[in-house]
Amino acid sequence: MTADVLDSRIPGITVVARLRAARRRRHALVIGVALLGALGLAVLALTLGAAGLTPVRALAAVVGMGERGDLFVVQHLRLPRVLAALFSGAGFALAGAIFQSVLRNPLASPDILGVSTGASLGAVWALLTLGLGGVAVAAWAFGGALLAAGAIWVLAWRRGLHAIRFVLVGVGIAYVCGSTLAWLLSRAEVREAQTALLWTIGSVADVRGARLTILGVGLGVLALVTALLSRTQAPLALGDDHAAALGVRVSATRAGLLLTAVALVAVATAAAGPVAFVALVAPAIARRLMDDGGAALAASTAVGALLVLSADLLGQHLFPGMSVPVGIVTGLVGAPYLLWLLSGRSERRTAAL
């Protein structure tokens, strides 16, 4: 441990440093492009719509300058929707990236493992049985997600939290919640049930005010927590034994990361409903783009935000006169991608299974 100075006489050291610099550059590029894309689409989203606005007017309205009509359209209608799309996309994607990295499984995703289903159950229960609305529904969704995750945890914990067990139990919980959900939908009056069904699809159309703020703040806090924990991801990916040998407290770290991910899903679902597939697909795309064996947490977040915003824009404007909720677009677009992803993988890539 004597070299404080970059000793270029040590063979190979430049290679190591250069490789790392290249990684950093690529990272910055991917995130930069994604964020720029998101920004561009955001501006586009602010201009499109029944009340057509030029980009200048739209941006002016964002900061509070311009006519009353513009201000209303932008600040009350479009901007919240754009922000909700970005935040929820980021939240789902980050949660998915954490799940997939911690569980060492590219197919693991909180919406498959029952967390989103739990959230839906909570929300539908609030809507149909308790007759609540607005923020209360969101709160119940949040609680539902946490309860489902808690159930998986408790049931999968056996002298440590093992990835495969978590996945299996998660799938079971998803089915229990789904079954209960179907039952609730069959019991209610049909129009109410249809409204509840709409909630379970996922939409960013009406997220504003308190819900939006909570979403934003929650995302910020949890993203920070993730950043602090993120350096354990690299050793964890090498296997439990390697991680422990490198000094990681495996079960505790895994628990902490998963808890953060669950909280992210809970917050995002409470605001926007369970938007299908973002948690599964965005990290997969990010990892492909980075292609360096890392979890690509930051890249996933950026890609997720971009994805949901694009999906919402598509849903709003692709079919004139019809506004398709974002959850359906991500489902319909995510499906072929997912199947391609799964079928294209070689045996070795799913070695963790």
């Binding site: 441990m1 070299a3 050291i13 490789l19 790392r20 000094g247």
Partner: protein, 333 residues
């Protein structure tokens, strides 16, 4: 960590055994201060117990192969390890010599891997303790332990797309701060590890593209990058062809010779173990049947007792160490 110890290796004649088979090693000297953490800013000062044997230092004992009572790197006291209520190892006392290559051999399911995992704190102990110097391993933080003890477990996952240099640099984890920033020191260590294992020219390749032998070297480089005084390896030669097995073991021998790293490995191949180990531990059914210099330990009687194998033991024509030749059932004319 730079003490170079050109120890005399491979005496041609059978050396006098330091330890009688069946006895645990309890050197007359007190525990050597081999639990030395590399001089880091934030590392605690090593608790060096005074000893009259090995001198506390960089963790490399002088390469004196004949002096009795060498320092002990790691010691188990009454260790009990089990799985799901089934006890595999019950009350084992074992001392692993510092600065030496120790090989642990034994038949299937004798508990050698379990023991290694228990020592490395990868598997919880049901009883007893593992001592590093005179510190209980369980009392150390994992990070601290990771700076002294490097482990190459059997199961390794190379994440998709990770490059060699990147994987090796993950070995620096215990030395890095909260944000995982890589310093130039880290880079230097990684580079040295790459060179030492001969994979420097593969540094930018994805690990997944490498052959089995190359990949194993990369994992060893990662453990090297951890810069520990002690390295434990759990069957590092499985799945390697014989040329690569020898290659790998030569590498470990060089590591031991040049840096004085204590190497403890679980091996399946008796003859390679006999050839490369300074200290051989033979296990059976969770207990140590014999330990000491391979020449003394690997006798026909012990091979029969531990492995249930009828064999002749002859001197290896190349290295002089014991060569176990099984008798088998088919007789040839």
């Amino acid at each position: 960590m730079t003490a170079s110890v050109p120890s005399a290796r491979r005496p041609a004649s059978a050396p006098t055994p330091r330890v009688r088979p069946g006895r645990t090693v309890v050197p007359s000297a007190a525990t050597a201060a081999s639990a030395v953490v590399p001089a880091d800013d934030d590392a605690p000062a090593p608790t060096a117990a005074p000893s009259d044997g090995a001198a506390p230092g960089d963790g490399a004992a002088p390469g004196d192969t004949t002096a009795p009572g060498d320092g002990v790197a790691l010691r188990t006291e009454g260790v009990r390890i089990g799985y799901d209520g089934r006890t595999v190892i019950d009350g084992l006392d074992l001392a692993l010599p510092v600065g030496r290559i120790t090989a642990i051999v034994g038949p299937n399911a004798c508990g050698k891997s379990t023991l290694l995992k228990g020592i490395a704190r990868l598997h919880p102990l049901s009883g007893g303790r593992v001592l590093l110097g005179d510190r209980d391993v369980a009392a150390m933080s994992r990070r601290e332990l990771a700076r002294v003890l490097g482990v190459l477990p059997q199961s390794s996952i190379a994440p998709d797309g990770v490059r060699v240099a990147e994987l090796v640099s993950r070995g620096r984890y215990p030395h890095q701060g909260w944000f995982g920033r890589h310093s130039s020191t880290d880079d230097a260590v990684v580079a040295r590890a790459l060179v030492a294992t001969g994979v420097a020219d593969l540094a930018t390749r994805p690990v997944a593209e490498l052959s089995g032998g190359q990949r194993q070297r990369v994992w060893i480089a990662m453990v090297l990058a951890q810069e520990t005084d002690i390295v434990l390896l759990d069957e590092p030669t499985t799945y390697l062809d014989v040329a690569h097995q020898v290659d790998l073991l030569d590498l470990l021998a060089e590591l031991n010779a040049e840096r004085g790293t204590t190497v403890v490995m679980v091996l399946h191949e008796l003859n390679l173990a006999a050839r490369y180990a300074d200290h051989l531990v033979v296990m059976r059914a969770g207990t140590v049947v014999a330990q000491g210099e391979p020449g003394a330990v690997l006798t026909e009687a012990i091979v029969l007792d531990a492995f249930g194998l009828d064999a002749r033991v002859v001197p290896d024509p190349v290295s002089g160490t014991p060569l176990v030749v099984p008798v088998g059932r088919t007789r040839r004319p």
